[in-house]
């Protein structure tokens, strides 16, 4: 067999097709990433640069002044509030949702209809129940408290968690659980030592989405908070004033607000991509 010299890409048809695809992909990526870049860039600009015309594409003298202001004024506490509320409600919803899903998947709790009823809870537009919930929370003294929003987000995320986790639990081979039962585990131990590890890809994926929902939720947070537990999206909305819009603050706050989600997803990434259930039982 003769050894062929690799040909330059521009001499072949495939080479040109590949180059065109690459160029297309680059253009699309730029279009979609530009707003995000702009947000981040704004966070590091001086006040003059923010409103400069023509626009400043790259901050000439990157400054952390806006961040300093956010910390000085205590605005960043909104990020902390969001971490507490989204974090706790995610953990609670994941725990309750997963055991409920296990029950639905393995013991056929509620027959065929309960699970449909559960997911139907997600079909109510939040705006439709904002007012009744506001009255309820006002009566119960839950307005502007961590507990109030944690309860609400847990309730809102539960149907989603149950629905998703039911599917993941059903994918766990039953024989693995039965084998563990015979080997000496109780049902609870089976759940923790077999089902959780087997379904952990699904657990993390569901948890990430649950967290992101709670993190970004706006309407309830706006209506049900005043000053004590303002969440990050509500705090950002305050920067859109009647007279003035604080673009630098919006940019800086968004950077701070995006970081926790980014960290969570980056942490879960390893778990999300690993195909762990291979080799459990012969397919």
């Amino acid at each position: 067999m003769s050894r062929r010299r690799p040909q330059p890409w521009y001499t072949t048809r495939q080479g040109w097709t590949g180059a065109a695809r690459l160029a297309g992909a680059i253009v699309v990526t730029i279009v979609f990433l530009f707003p995000i870049y702009w947000l981040f860039a704004t966070a590091f600009k001086t006040p003059e640069e923010v409103f400069a015309s023509p626009p400043v594409w790259f901050p000439q003298t990157p400054t952390l002044e806006t961040f300093a202001v956010l910390f000085r004024d205590g605005d960043v506490s909104a990020v902390w509030n969001s971490i507490v509320i989204a974090g706790v409600s995610t953990v609670v919803a994941m725990f309750l949702g997963t055991i409920a899903a296990y029950s639905l998947a393995r013991f056929r709790t509620g027959g065929d209809h309960l699970v449909i009823w559960i997911i139907s809870q997600r079909m109510i537009p939040p705006i439709a129940v904002v007012f009744p919930i506001f009255l309820l929370f006002a009566g119960l003294g839950l307005i502007d408290t961590y507990l109030g929003l944690i309860l609400l987000y847990t309730a809102f995320n539960l149907p989603y968690v149950i629905w998703m986790m039911r599917g993941y639990v059903e994918d766990v081979p039953r024989e693995l659980e039965e084998s563990a039962l015979v080997d000496g585990l109780t049902r609870w131990q089976v759940l923790i030592k077999v089902v959780f590890p087997m379904a952990r890809t699904g657990l993390f994926a569901t948890a990430v989405f649950t967290f992101i929902f709670a993190w970004n939720e706006f309407i309830f947070a706006l209506v049900l908070t005043r000053t004590e537990v303002l969440t990050f999206p509500v705090q950002v909305s305050h920067y859109f004033g009647q007279q003035q819009t604080f673009w630098a603050k919006i940019g800086a706050m968004s950077v701070l607000g995006a970081l926790p989600v980014f960290v969570v997803v980056a942490m879960a990434q390893k778990l999300l991509v690993r195909g762990l259930s291979m080799g459990a039982v012969k397919g």
Binding site: P173, E175, L176, E178, S179, A180, L181, V182, D183, G184, L185, T186, Q189, V194, P197, M198, L276, S277, M278, G279, A280, V281, K282
Partner: protein, 367 residues
């Protein structure tokens, strides 16, 4: 000593009566094989012994204790599953150690016992691997290791070899048999494969439609089947069944298959059959009991000659199966490798009437 007892055990799935009153007593150290076609209730029975299915009626006792209400973990049984049921996120070592850890056995002892089990099964070099890095046979060894390391009172096998290819299945069968001889634990083994049942069992329990059709040692079932179903289930190729009329023939009786074929039973068997003279029955003969006469041989007493035209020849190497039509029914004979080479040949055969059976078609029972 009886170790495992089933007493009038029933199981219902909605309208389906899966197990219909099974009584069974398995002795300490016995290797019992539950065998039968799919849907006969054999796996359900095994799972009821394990505690994975509720017993709807009747009693299951292990070592003299009724276990109906006990959780699987409290029954002191170990089970090997058809699909291995290995934990993919645990190493082979941890998979085998799983049951010991669940029972809080000290680490040092766990390590010792896991290594011992691995040694017995020849999987010591694999202890650090994950299940997905193992072949099917290796996985099944690990699954068996997980059961033997527990030192449970009863071993349960649910079709453990049906996912393996033929050669590996033969190897593992030998392995399981040897393991049982070494360990000597009471074992209940479920399979649909009659060869596994015959080769492994101290006792075969043949199930059909949720009831025990017949139980006994492999050779008892093979040589003295109680029903047509048992006769047809055990043995490969399966027994031939030909409609026949029972007629008087001199000092004995004969099965008349057609106008010109009547096969006489040995005189000592005639007495048992006389009550059925003149009835339409089913004549059963195993393929290996149809043989070719050696040159010059006239046939021993109890052997009946017949002449047939071969339709089909299937050499297997050691033996050759030939098919032919006998009284309008397709019949198989298992002959020596070179007895017949070509289809269309006309050959003489000897039927071993001492071992042929007659079946009452109304009850399907062997007379």
């Amino acid at each position: 000593m009886t170790h495992l007892t089933l007493d009038a055990v029933h199981k219902y799935y909605d309208d389906f009566h899966a197990v219909r009153g099974v009584d069974l007593a398995i002795r300490e150290g016995e290797f019992a094989v539950l065998v039968g076609p799919s849907g006969c209730g054999k796996s359900t029975l095994l799972r009821m012994i394990a505690g994975l299915e509720a017993v709807d009626d009747g009693e299951v006792s292990i070592a003299g204790r009724v276990v109906n209400a006990l959780r699987p973990r409290d029954r002191n049984v170990a089970m090997v599953f058809q699909n291995y049921a290995l934990y993919p996120y645990l190493s082979v070592f941890e998979n085998i150690a799983f049951g010991l850890r669940a029972r809080k056995v000290p680490d040092a002892e766990t390590g010792r016992r896991v290594r011992e089990a691995a040694e017995t099964l020849g999987i010591t070099p694999l202890l650090d691997r994950l299940p997905r890095q193992l072949s099917g046979g290796q996985r099944q060894r690990v699954a068996i290791g997980r059961a033997i390391v527990r030192d449970a009172g009863v071993f349960l096998f649910d079709e453990p070899l049906s996912n393996l290819d033929a050669q590996l299945r033969d190897e593992m069968r030998v392995e399981i048999k040897r393991l049982h001889q070494e360990i000597g634990k009471t074992t209940v083994y479920v399979t649909h494969d009659q060869i596994e049942a015959m080769t492994l069992a101290d006792r075969i329990v043949l199930l059909r439609d949720g009831v025990i059709e017949q139980e006994g040692t492999p050779l008892e079932l093979f040589e003295r089947p109680a029903t047509r179903f048992v006769a047809g289930f055990l043995g490969s190729p399966r027994m031939n069944f030909v409609p026949a009329t029972l007629v008087e023939d001199g000092d004995t009786v004969a099965a008349r298959l057609s106008a010109d074929v009547a096969l006489r039973f040995p005189a000592d068997r005639a007495a048992g059959f006389r009550a059925h003279l003149g009835r339409e029955l089913v004549f059963g003969v195993r393929p290996e009991h149809l043989t070719r006469p050696r040159t010059g041989e006239q046939g021993r007493p109890g052997q009946e000659a017949l002449t047939v035209t071969v339709d089909l020849v299937q050499p297997t190497g050691t033996r050759t199966y030939v098919q032919f039509s006998l009284a309008g029914t397709e019949v198989t004979a298992e002959l020596a490798a070179h007895d017949v080479e070509q289809p269309g040949t006309r050959i003489d055969l000897l039927a071993d009437m001492a071992r042929a059976i007659l079946i009452d078609p109304e009850t399907d029972r062997v007379l």
